[in-house]
Symmetry: C2
């Protein structure tokens, strides 16, 4: 038994799937949960995924040797600050947010007054579906989880968090919160921003037959159908790295458009071929 009592705050797709995986693999004797919505909590209890639910996060973390924050991104900071004084001193405390810098810097500050076994985590187990009722015990199998130790991370915490994520089927890599945030700005946040801009540009056209022809385009911009409130939070929390990536991207778009504007077709073809080859190297 890896944990005696695991407390999960937020029972959406990720929190619910962690609860199922911990139970299913016998990694936690008891799984307790807190969340804002009644339906997931009741559903989780009925299914035996959660042993006990509470409305109050502070009540649920008491006596837990594993605490996982799995709420929407914007709530993670306030929650970390509120729970820091009440989490058990020996507990492993982690989160699943998709932006890491601000939260890890906050934890580093909180650790000045009370050292705790906190480490930031990001399971890259996205899904089109959302919410507890889409959660699955095997959600993390074959996925990648990035752990982001901060300046105040206690020795041993990385190892415990690694055992947790590997225990539920994920591969684990470590990097700084800053490197993490630059990577997700590049491979996730910028592509989402670009998809929104593409969808907006096309929707602004006034062609009678546009709707007929837009089938494949809807695949291309599918990620622009994601909830606006979620992406507002992500763009807000990862503002700096995202703005840097947008600048890099603009430079590349300028370069490619330059070949087209100046009719340098050989230059364009060489550039496209070089990009195709570089992209292949991203495994």
């Amino acid at each position: 038994m890896m944990f005696e009592r695991a407390a999960i705050i937020g029972l959406g797709l990720i929190g619910g799937s962690i609860a199922r995986a911990l139970k299913g693999r016998g990694l936690a004797r008891e799984v307790v949960g807190a969340g804002n919505s009644l339906a997931p909590l009741e559903g989780a209890r009925r299914e035996g995924v959660i042993d006990r639910v509470e409305n109050d996060p502070a009540a649920v973390v008491k006596g837990a040797d594993l605490v996982i924050l799995a709420t929407p991104l914007a709530r993670l900071g306030p929650l970390l600050e509120a729970l820091w004084p009440v989490v058990d001193g020996e507990a492993l405390l982690t989160d699943v947010g998709s932006v890491k810098g601000p939260l890890v810097r906050l934890a580093d500050r909180l650790a000045l007054s009370r050292p705790l076994g906190f480490i930031g985590g990001h399971p890259m187990a996205g899904s089109e579906k959302r919410g507890f009722f889409a959660s699955r015990a095997d959600l993390f199998e074959g996925t990648l989880t990035i752990l982001t130790p901060g300046a105040a991370t206690i020795p041993g915490t990385v190892k415990r968090a690694r055992a947790l994520w590997e225990g539920i089927g994920s591969r684990v890599v470590e990097c700084s919160p800053e490197e993490h945030d630059r990577i997700v700005a590049a491979v996730s946040h910028l592509p989402h921003l670009v998809a929104y801009a593409l969808a907006a540009a096309v929707a602004s056209l006034d062609e009678a037959l546009l709707g007929y022809a837009a089938g494949g385009f809807k695949d291309t911009t599918r990620i622009a159908a994601s909830p606006a409130a979620l992406w507002r939070e992500i763009f807000e929390l990862n503002r700096g790295p995202l703005i840097e990536m947008v600048a890099r991207y603009r430079a590349e778009l300028d370069r490619l458009e330059g070949y087209i504007a100046t009719r340098d077709w050989d230059g364009l073809e060489q550039a496209l071929e070089a990009i195709r080859r570089q992209r292949e190297h991203l495994r």
Copy 2:
């Protein structure tokens, strides 16, 4: 029997699939073909998809009452010009290129000296796979084909071309070559250009863990793996409409980035939500 002799120039994915569909549905008594590569021609003859092959396009179109140009985009113009004097006066002459303006304007000029039953066509039946050996008799089922009549299009030609495409399973809509080119610039060419720029921007990053995290990103930029020579041709032939769409797109990207730069998070969320709703209306 819709056609006595169908001549197909270029036996790649599209040309090969048209040949299979015509044979399979008994729409042409005889299907003859010409192409640059020996392997597809021999393969098509062995399989009985093509009754007779020639190396010379001019030889194959003689006596055909249907002529379909299905070569790479850059060869369509020269080929149309070369074949115009030798195509049978009563034949239906069409093409499958993904840019229509330049070819239809060329046909309008050629028709001044010799009126012919030409109409531009674009079956939107893309596939990751390419070449004759990926061709299928059912490739066009459930797809959309856009027909683009020009100033010189002879009455009745639209109707004959519609019967051809509907006969092999496609839905058909008509619009001007100019509208067509604006639509494909929007829903296909701009997204490809953007995917190339995205892939280039990310490849320019120097993060050690980038490769691990780039799984989903590779889906996003999959279209940047398309052959550079093909996209050079498309961008070249559709330069004007593409540059206009890039300008629209830049305006939207500027607007979204503006919200982020000025930290107008409510404005950003409203804009993202409006885009999500607009996009839903593109069927």
